[in-house]
C-alpha cells in the first residue's frame, strides 16, 4: 500500500514537472542549470530579462504550424 502511494506520488510529481516544462513555466530553472546560465564569462539573466529574451527569440522564427 505504502509502495503504491509512493509510486503514485512520484508519478504525479513527474507529471507536474512535465507540464511545467511543456508550457515554459520551468524554462528559467532549466536556464540556471545549463552551462549558459552557470557561465562565469557572461552575466546570469534575471527572470524578467530571461523571459523577454526567450520570447523574442522564440517568436522570430516559425514556431506555429498551419
Amino acid at each position: 500500500m505504502r509502495h503504491a502511494a509512493k509510486a503514485t506520488s512520484r508519478l504525479l510529481r513527474r507529471l507536474w514537472r512535465g507540464l511545467r516544462e511543456w508550457c515554459g513555466d520551468a524554462a528559467y530553472e532549466s536556464y540556471l542549470r545549463s552551462k549558459g546560465g552557470q557561465s562565469s564569462s557572461s552575466r546570469t539573466l534575471t527572470p524578467a530579462e530571461f523571459y523577454v529574451e526567450q520570447l523574442n527569440r522564440r517568436y522570430s522564427r516559425p514556431n506555429r504550424c498551419c
Binding site: E29, S34, K35, E53, S60, C65
Partner: protein, 695 residues
Amino acid sequence: MNRILSIVGWMVIAALGAGALGSIALHRGEPLNATWFVVAAVCCYLVAYRLYSAFVAAKVLALDETRATPCERHDDGRDFVPTNKWVLFGHHFAAIAGPGPLVGPTLAAQFGYLPGTLWLIAGAAFAGCVQDFVILFCSIRRDGKSVGQMAREEVSERGGFIAQLAVLAIMTILLAVVGLVVVNALKSSPWATFTLAMTIPIALLLGLYLRFVRPGRVLEASVMGVALVLFVVVAGQWVADSPSWSRVFTLSGVALAFAIIAYGFAASALPVWLLLAPRDYLSAFIKAGAIFSLAVGILFVRPQVLMPPLTRFIDGTGPVFAGKIFPFCFITIACGAISGFHSLISSGTTPKMILRESHARFIGYGAMLLESFVGVMAMVAACSMPPGVYFAINSPPSMVGGAGDAAAATISGWGYPLQAQTMTDLAHKVGEITLWNRAGGAPSLAVGMAQIFSGTIGGERLLSIWYHFAIMFEALFILTVLDAGTRVGRFMVQDLGGRVWKPFGRTGWMPGILLSSAIIVALWGYFLYQGVVDPLGGINSLWPIFGISNQLLAAVALVVASTILMKMGRLRWIWVTLLPMAWLVTITITASYQKIFDANPRIGFLAYANALAAQIAVGKIPAGKIAETQRLIFNQRLDAAVTGVLAAMILVLIVEALVHWYSILSRRKESMLHESPYIATRWAADYSGAAHGDD
C-alpha cells in the same frame, strides 16, 4: 515466449486494423459507427510506427545512440535545452498541430468520408511522418539548421533560395486563408465575435502579469487566462441576447477582415510579451484540452457517420470547392497527411532540444501520427451531421441560391434531403442567427464538435455553449497562427529589405518594424479581402493555392532529405523519401495546371476571368458593377499568376535536384556532407533533461 506473445499481439492489431479499414471502405447502406474510424486509424498508426518507422530508424537513417545531440554540444539554456522526450513530444505536437488538420478534412468531406480518411492514414504513415522524421534527423546532425539552410548547403544556392521563397509564399497564403476561415466563422455572429474579441484584453492582462508581476510564471497565468476565456464564452450569450450589444458585435465579412488585418499588424508591431506570447499560451492549453475532449467525446458518444463513403461530387462539381478527387483531395488535406510547413518546425526548435537521436523517431514520426488522428477526428465530426446540413453550411450562396427554401430544394435535389426549417432550428439551438453559407470549415466542424460534446455533457441544453466553445477554440488558435506568422513574415521582409538598405534590417528599429509589418500584413490582407468578396466563396480559390504552396515546401524538404540520403550512401533506401516526393510533385503540378487552365470557370482561374470579361463585353453586367467585376477579373489573373509561379518553382527545384544528383552519382562532383563532427555523448543512458536534473 515473450517474442511469440509480441508477434501474436501485433498480428491481432494488424488484423483488427485491416478489418476496420475494410469495414469503412466497403460499407454501404446503413450509417457507420465512428468507432470503426478510431479503431482503423489507431491500429494502422500502431503498425506503421512499430514496423515502418523502426525500419526507417534502423536501416535508412541508422540513428546513433552514442552521438551527442546539439543540446548537449551547446547547452546554453536558451535555444539548446536538453528536454525530456515526452515533454518535447508535447512541444513538437503543439507546434505542428494548427487549424489545417481540422479544416482540411472538413472541407474534403464533400467527397464523402472515404477518400479523405484513407489519404489521412496512408499519407501520414508513408509521407508526412517520414518527412518530419527524416528532416528532424538531418537537422539534428547539423546543429539544428533550418530546411532552407540545409537546402543551400546540401543541394545548391538556388535550392536554398527556392526554399526561402516557398516559406514566404506559404506564409502569405496561409495567413490569408486562415483569416478567411475566422471571418466566415464570426460573420453575423455577435456571440462568437464578442468571445474572440475578449480574448485580446485577457491576453494583454496576462502579458502584463507575466512581464511585471510574476515573470515567466506561465502555468498560473494560463490557468487564470483559461478561466477568463471560459467565462467570456458563457458571457457571449448575454451579449447575443442584448439587442444593443448584439448590434455592436454583429459584423459583416469585410468589417471582420479589416479587424483581423488591424489585429495582425498590432500583434506584429507590439512587443511580443504583451499580446502574442500570452495568446499563444492560452491557445496551447485550450487546443490541448479541446483535442483531448474531442477524442474522449467520440469514444463516449460513438456517433453515427451519416455522410456516404463517396458523394456525387467526386466528379469535380462540389459546392465547397470545385475539382475532382485527384488531385484536389490531396491538396485540400495537407496538414494531417503531409505538410511542408512541418519541416520548418522539425528543423527549428525541436532538433535543438532533443536528447538522443533515437528520440527523433518518437517525436518526428509519432507526433505526426497524432496530428493525422486529429484529422480523422475532424472528418468524423464533419461527417456525423446529416449531409444536407453539411452542404448548407459549407456552400456559398452562388452555389445553392442563397438561403431558405430555395437553397434547401437545391441541396435536396443533389440527393441530400434538407428542410429549410432544419437549418433554422439548428441555428437557434446553437445560438446563431444563421448557419447558411458559412463556408470555411470552422462552423460545420463546430456544429459537429458541439453535437459530440453535448452528447457527453449537458445534452441539447448546452449545445449553444459547446458550439461557441468550439468556435472560440478554432478561432483562438487560428489567430495564434496568424499573429505568430505575421511576426515571422515581418522578420523575413526585414531580412530581405536589409540587403537593400541596412537600417531596414535592424529588428529593433521602430520605423523598420512598422513598415515591414505593414508590408507583410498588406500582402496577406489583400488575399484575405479578395477571398471575402469573392462570389464563389474565397475558399474555392485560396485553399487550393494554400495546399499547393504547402506541398511545394514539402517537395523542397523531401528533395533535401533525398539528397542527404544519397550523400550518406543510402541510395538503396532513397525510395523512402523519393516516392512521397514524386507523388507530391505529381499532385501539385496537376492541381496547379487545372487551377490555371481548366475550362470550367469554377476550377480554372483564367476561364473564370474570361467568363467575367465576356459578360462585361455583352453588357450582362450592370454599369454599377463593372468596376467590381473588373477587380474580380484582376484577382483571378493574379491567382493564376501566383499558382504559376509556385508550379514553376517546383519544376526548377526538381531540375536543380536532378542535375545535382546526376553529378553526385556520376562522380563529377564531390559528394560533401555538411554534418557536424561526431562527438560521443557523455550523458548517462537514463538522463532525462535539464528540468529533471533533480530526479
